[in-house]
Amino acid sequence: MSNGHITIIKPKKLFSLSDLKEVWEYRELLYFFTWRDLKVRYKQTAIGALWAIFQPFMTMVVFSVFFGGLLQIPSDGVPYPIFVYTGLLFWQFFSSALSDTSNVLITNQAIITKVYFPRLLLPLSSVATKFMDFAIAAVILVGMMIYYGYTPHITGLLIIPLLLLITFMASVGFGLILASINVKYRDVRYALPFFIQILMFVTPVIYPASIAGKYSWILALNPMMGVIQSARAALLGTTVLNWTLIGISLAATTILMIFGIYTFKKTERYFADII
């Protein structure tokens, strides 16, 4: 009769492996959510996909003029524009994914209260959307590397996917926690942009981590510091690749991600009721 598909509905358990299996079963919907977000955004802005390039590019120009040019912020021996752009590229992936993920339950409440699907798809798709922006903006970086004459070494290129994974886990993990809080306390989202901005200044985006001298290990607690530092090392050869740093970042984001999923699952039990 029904190809053996059995659903059992009962009071929700916190977490089970079948949840992940379910996400996999619904992967097509994940694709559709991402596709929708991209399509809608590129339809709404006149310059479409160019927006993904324009934003980090202009930020880079302004930062280069003020921080690199006028303030003479050190940049580990590489030209400031390419130094700051590498940082911005990863930072914007992280921060925009984080802010989207935090609001994802609220922006999609019409669907959440009417249809069932694994809710985890929503944050995943918002990160996937931001990844597309990252990929488009990365084209500028490639151009800049050619212009300034940098050739990354092979390990450097191979490490990029790992760095992206860390960024992904950091934004999803952190985003899930914020999303759960956001459903319950609706004023949190107004504080969020401010919070993310502050976060940028404690991450070595516009300055090198070496600026903190012997205290730079404190910065290592922030996973995005490891990502940005390693990206610069890998692509521009600013420093030697610090594997311990990458290891710490990876471990920290894994824990963050697990905690994020846990919080999200816990909230998931009642958020259709309070949304």
Binding site: M1, S2, H5, I6, T7, I8, I9, K10, P11, K12, E28, L29, F32, W35, R36, K39, V40, K43, Q44, A110, I111, I112, T113, K114, V115, Y116, F117, I181, K184, Y185, R186, D187, V188, R269, Y270, A272, D273, I274
Partner: protein, 416 residues
């Protein structure tokens, strides 16, 4: 045969403060904690110790039923009876607090047409998006694409963003996508209350197709008794979070429509020996149910002295205390006026519920000697009764909720 859906002891609990709506803000909680640190600590401790006396509300309690494959089950009940909660649990939007449901097959739920439609996207794009949200596979949507478009009758506008669609087109497309879902079980909430009459007919036809030809199992919530009768072989009546009745549609609907089922018939009795007078001393004032399900207002009184100018009756007020009408026993034709005698009299009249809207009405005993004196002056503490009207009298399927206006008479129309 094993049932396709087994619902066992399902219950759903809400905390009243959640129900009241309004969002909690972190700011409020923090300012509250600083303003009243003691009461904040007190509730927190109570919370932790679990002795807090929170007001809870069971939207559903001890719900049990089974559905066999191919059955079409209607679900009826008043607003707030728990129908929507049940559907939400069945479609996994919200988990139950207690109990378990076992479903042997895939479930598609249609709690609203056009869920997830994006105004910026074209009709074509929305078909795929909406289909995916409803749980269809991309290749299945592609296979049914032409059928969906044809049923919705929007071929020309396929590549226009749906924000430019008329509401009729929008609804047609949305219903069409949903109607082509390919699940074993379909859960449908009140979707037929959309579109023009012609399209509604088409929808009902499609639903009949789905149920009869394709042999699918359907759970169908509606206020539209006609549609329920037409589509469902069995019906569940829900009231106060529990199943009141489950069986053949004819029987359940008939009982449901007999208004007095859950109406409270109020009664006033002159226990305090008030309103002493020779002309009309009230003993009892009450609502009663008649054989044909009509409701009557009854007035029992002792008369010591007959006065031909005696007028007694009642005033009817709406919820906001607007006077709707007065009715006196002398209103009818001469021959219809009840003859009063010395001693005990019981006079009664039918309450015209068919003209009333949903809501709570107040009935006040009024009366006096015409042009001479009040015996029961309006708004001077006379006996009153309240009656709750729920619009089951309405036969229109387009209006399922309370209508605007103080009255909502059912008036028949003709085409000349």
């Amino acid at each position: 045969m094993e049932p396709i859906i087994t619902v066992k002891n399902i219950g759903k609990k809400y905390n009243i403060n959640h129900q009241k709506g309004g969002y909690i803000t972190l700011r409020d909680i923090i300012t509250n904690a600083f303003k009243n640190p003691f009461s904040f600590l007190k509730t927190k401790t109570k919370n932790i110790l679990g002795i807090e006396t929170k007001e809870i509300f069971w939207a559903l309690k001890d719900v049990n039923f089974e559905v066999m494959k191919g059955e079409v089950i209607g679900i009826i009940g008043r607003n707030g009876a728990g129908k929507s909660t049940l559907l939400k649990i069945l479609s996994q939007i919200t988990p139950p607090t207690t109990g378990e449901i076992r479903i042997n097959g895939t479930v598609g739920s249609l709690l609203e047409v056009g869920t997830g439609f994006h105004p910026e996207l074209t009709g074509r794009e929305n078909i795929f998006l909406n289909g995916a949200i409803l749980g269809m596979k991309k290749k299945d949507i592609a296979k049914k694409f032409d059928e969906i478009v044809k049923f919705a009758d929007i071929e020309k506008f396929l590549d226009t963003p749906v924000k430019y669609y008329s509401s009729g087109m929008y609804v047609r497309l949305a219903f069409s996508v949903a109607a082509h879902m390919d699940t074993d079980i379909l859960i449908i909430d009140e979707v037929l209350a959309v579109g023009d009459a012609e399209f509604q007919k088409k929808c009902l036809g499609k639903m009949e197709d789905i149920t009869q030809k394709e042999g699918r199992t359907i759970l169908f919530v509606s206020h539209d008794i006609k549609a329920i009768k037409q589509l469902c072989n069995k019906t569940i009546q829900i009231g106060n979070g529990q199943i009141i009745n489950f069986g053949e549609t004819e029987n359940v609907v008939e009982k449901y429509l007999s208004i007095s089922n859950d109406i409270t018939l109020e009664k006033w009795e002159n226990n305090k020996n008030e309103f002493n007078n020779d002309y009309f001393k009230p003993e009892k004032f009450y609502i009663s149910k008649e054989k044909n399900d009509e409701l009557s207002i009854n007035l029992e009184a002792i008369i010591d002295k007959i006065d031909n100018s005696l007028t007694v009756g009642y005033a009817l007020y709406s919820e906001d205390n607007t006077l709707l009408y007065w009715s006196y026993q002398i209103d009818g034709d001469n021959t219809d006026i009840p003859k009063l005698q010395i001693g005990r009299n019981i006079i009664k009249s039918i309450i015209p519920v068919e003209i009333l809207n949903n809501g709570r009405y107040t009935i006040e005993l009024i009366g006096g000697i015409h042009n001479k004196e009040w015996l029961f002056e309006p708004n001077k503490g006379n006996p009153t009764l309240t009656i709750e009207i729920d619009r089951k009298f309405n036969t229109s399927h387009l209006w399922t909720k309370k209508r605007p206006g103080l009255l909502a008479p059912t008036i028949n129309w003709k085409n000349k």
